[in-house]
């Protein structure tokens, strides 16, 4: 797919040759490798992909070239708003959105129908529905769990926990003051809910070791009723060669707490140009092509990657192949970015430690741990000022 796009690009621009380098699968590992190169002012990187949380860091560190003139507001308006925001730091734009990702709820249409329930609106509803379905199926001898998600101590844990906290009206960092909001009642309540009702209850305790592949595995083996993942999971779970539940998978917005509203963590990838690139003109041509309608359509049709350009959600060919993209757009519009700071990786590591500690044990005093984590985050933010 990527090769195809590169070939098309080279056909259109015979004077530019693109050399593709493949990095590690894990976003964190890829980050560490790429930043190592950029830090050393390596000239062999012209164009790079950035995870949604990197642009502030890459911009502040001077690794990513500001694209304000090349990528004017009139062009930006053609993209989903959240994805443009994620590429903006202190008024400058450092990347062009390529794919969008956001957390969503996958469920088993067949099981929900069998037990006469509709996709849950609230987390509590999800827990109750899962209980009914799991105990009902257990009588018939099938091994089934209620839910699977990503709760290992890593970046994905922050994404998952954020969805519980925000959908309870809590927050990670206060929007106005920028201070951590972990100690707030709503945040504590959401974390407490996860450790009391999700880990080891609705979801197997093993989710504490799961990243995306392991959690998806449980779901496509037909062993989970509900599943939280990124859009790519739709493709995989409906592939009859890999999945036992192909054709019975539905998607919905993530549940929320009573009185809150549904939130989905924003993910996705952006294309940026290195400040040290000697071929920045050619690099920009490629970025423009890569994020253009033609390339995004290929990514959508062949790879099932949700595009960032609004217009493609009305494209008949795409909607015909992927009718669920229509529903996904709803989710994408509400997708919420993780804290925007160039020191995000440091903040994230504190959050990962806090969340993992909080949900691994049922008797730890959350208030104390939340206060400790908040203090550490404060220190980091202070450093960034």
């Amino acid at each position: 797919m990527q090769e195809e796009i590169i070939r098309l690009f080279e056909l259109e621009h015979p004077d530019i040759k693109v050399v593709r380098e493949i990095g590690p699968h894990s976003s964190t590992a890829f980050h560490d490798l790429l930043t190592q190169k950029l830090k050393n002012r390596s000239e062999d990187v012209d164009v790079f992909l950035m995870d949604v949380i990197w642009p502030p860091e890459f911009g502040a560190a001077g690794w990513a070239m500001p694209l304000d003139e090349l990528f004017p507001p009139s062009e930006r308006a053609k993209f989903l708003e959240g994805t443009v925001l994620a590429n903006t730091y202190r008024g400058k734009i450092y990347g062009v959105p390529l794919f969008i990702d956001s957390g969503m709820l996958f469920y088993r249409i067949d099981l929900l129908r069998k037990y006469g329930v509709t996709p849950p609106e609230t987390w509590q509803e999800m827990v109750t529905q899962a209980e009914i379905i799991v105990s009902g199926e257990a009588k018939e001898g099938s091994e089934l769990y209620g839910f699977s998600g990503q709760f290992k101590q890593y970046e994905g844990l922050v994404c998952n926990m954020m969805e519980y906290i925000l959908s309870n009206g809590g927050e990670i960092l206060d929007k106005e003051t920028g201070r951590p909001g972990l100690s707030g009642k709503a945040s504590i309540g959401a974390v407490d809910f996860v450790r009391k009702h999700i880990i080891g209850k609705t979801a197997p305790v093993g989710v504490l070791t799961y990243q995306e592949p392991e959690s998806l595995d449980l779901f496509i083996q037909g062993k989970a009723v509900f599943h939280r993942n990124w859009p790519y999971a739709w493709q995989v779970s409906n592939d009859p060669e890999r999945s036992r539940i192909a054709g019975t998978v539905g998607i919905a917005r993530l549940p929320h707490f009573p009185g809150g509203r549904s939130y989905a963590t924003l993910g996705g990838w952006q294309a940026g140009v290195s400040s040290h690139s000697k071929n920045s003109k050619a690099a920009w041509e490629f970025v423009k092509f890569l994020t253009g309608e033609k390339a995004q359509k290929i990514f959508a049709l062949k790879g099932g990657r949700p595009p960032t350009r609004k217009a493609l959600y009305e494209d008949e060919e795409i909607l015909e192949s992927y009718p669920h993209f229509g529903d996904m757009k709803e989710v994408f519009i509400t997708a919420y970015p993780r804290p925007v700071t160039p020191l995000y990786p440091a903040v994230s590591n504190i959050l990962q430690r806090y969340f993992s500690t909080a949900i691994s044990s049922a008797d730890i005093r959350l208030e104390n741990k939340a206060r400790e984590a908040s203090k550490e985050i404060d220190k980091i933010i202070e450093m960034g000022k």
């Binding site: 190592q36 560190a61 101590q153 890593y154 093993g206 504490l208 990786p345 590591n349």
Partner: protein, 298 residues
């Protein structure tokens, strides 16, 4: 111009030594000194406007107050003590076994070294699968087809920690065994023959002859294993990423996160230097003990 023979020899010696010395300086001394240099500065990659101000021992003072660093230091020490202990014990057993002559000893000796020859990243991945909560071999051995009883070993702080210890012991016991085997092989047979004539039981022979004579070898194995265990990183990186609840976070992994993920070059280097100092002190201590012992024997 002519040089005296002595001067010529000096030049020759210097010429022979230079490449080796250069190698050590470039790849050992320079990085160490540079880490020390970095550790005395405040460098945050995400904020280049900060420059790299010299902050003296600030980073070290911060390290003393760092709750997470303390926690990972305790984890590291715990890891070092348990793994080296078990590894020496298993190594001793392995060495004694493969020192006996039996059919297929050559193959057995080679086979025992296999775990040690496998790259740690690969063996860690293997252990991660073994401990898996849904299809792990360990669960299958314990519970067979009763999948409901399957335990998520890596999901509980205590068992996750035990898991990385087991993986390390499995991997490096044979290395300890190899060193101890070398010690065993230099014990002259006459000693045992004499002991047998005097009516010593096998246990007495082991306690009074074998053990005292292989002590230097054991100490060397201990030295290698301790210093190596302090640097544990890849096991944690592959198997747990420091979780759950930070229970398997060790110093080197913490330092890695600081430098490579968070971009705190200065503070991360401080952690590395700290690990280096601990390893150095431990090595010096062992070398003193081993050195005097060997000296006394001569």
């Amino acid at each position: 111009m002519r040089f005296s023979a002595a001067a010529r020899e000096k030049v020759f010696v210097a010429a022979l030594l230079t490449p080796g010395l250069l190698f050590v300086v470039t790849f050992a001394f320079y990085p160490i000194l540079y880490s020390v240099y970095l550790s005395l500065h405040r460098i945050v990659l995400g904020i280049p406007s900060l420059g790299r101000p010299f902050t003296g021992i600030d980073n070290y003072l911060r390290l003393l107050e760092d709750r997470v660093a303390l926690h990972s230091l305790i984890n590291t020490l715990l890891f070092v003590f348990t793994t080296t202990g078990f590894e020496i014990l298993c190594g001793l057993i392995i060495a004694i076994l493969i020192n006996r002559s039996f059919k297929g000893r050559g193959i057995a000796r080679a086979a025992i070294l296999v775990p040690w020859a496998i790259p740690t990243v690969v063996s860690s991945q293997m252990w991660r699968f073994i401990f898996n909560d849904k299809y792990g071999l360990l669960n299958y051995i314990f519970y067979g087809n009763d999948t409901h009883a399957y335990t998520a070993w890596l999901a509980h702080p205590a068992t996750a920690f035990a898991a990385i210890v087991i993986a390390d012991v499995w991997k490096t016991s044979s290395f300890a065994g190899l060193i101890i085997l070398a010690g065993l092989q230099v014990i002259p047979d006459e000693l045992y023959r004499a002991a047998r004539i005097d009516g010593a039981s096998p246990w007495q022979q082991f306690r009074r002859i074998t053990l005292p004579l292989i002590k230097p070898a054991i100490l060397i194995a201990l030295l290698f294993r301790t210093v190596d265990a302090f640097r544990v990183f890849d096991l944690v990186f592959v198997m747990t990423q420091g979780g759950p609840a930070d229970s398997t976070n060790v110093l080197q992994f913490y330092g890695y996160k600081k430098i490579f993920t968070e971009g705190l070059m200065g503070y991360g280097s401080t952690i590395s230097v700290f690990v280096f100092i601990i390893s150095l002190v431990v090595s010096l201590l062992y070398i003193r003990v081993v050195g005097t012992r060997l000296f006394r024997e001569k």
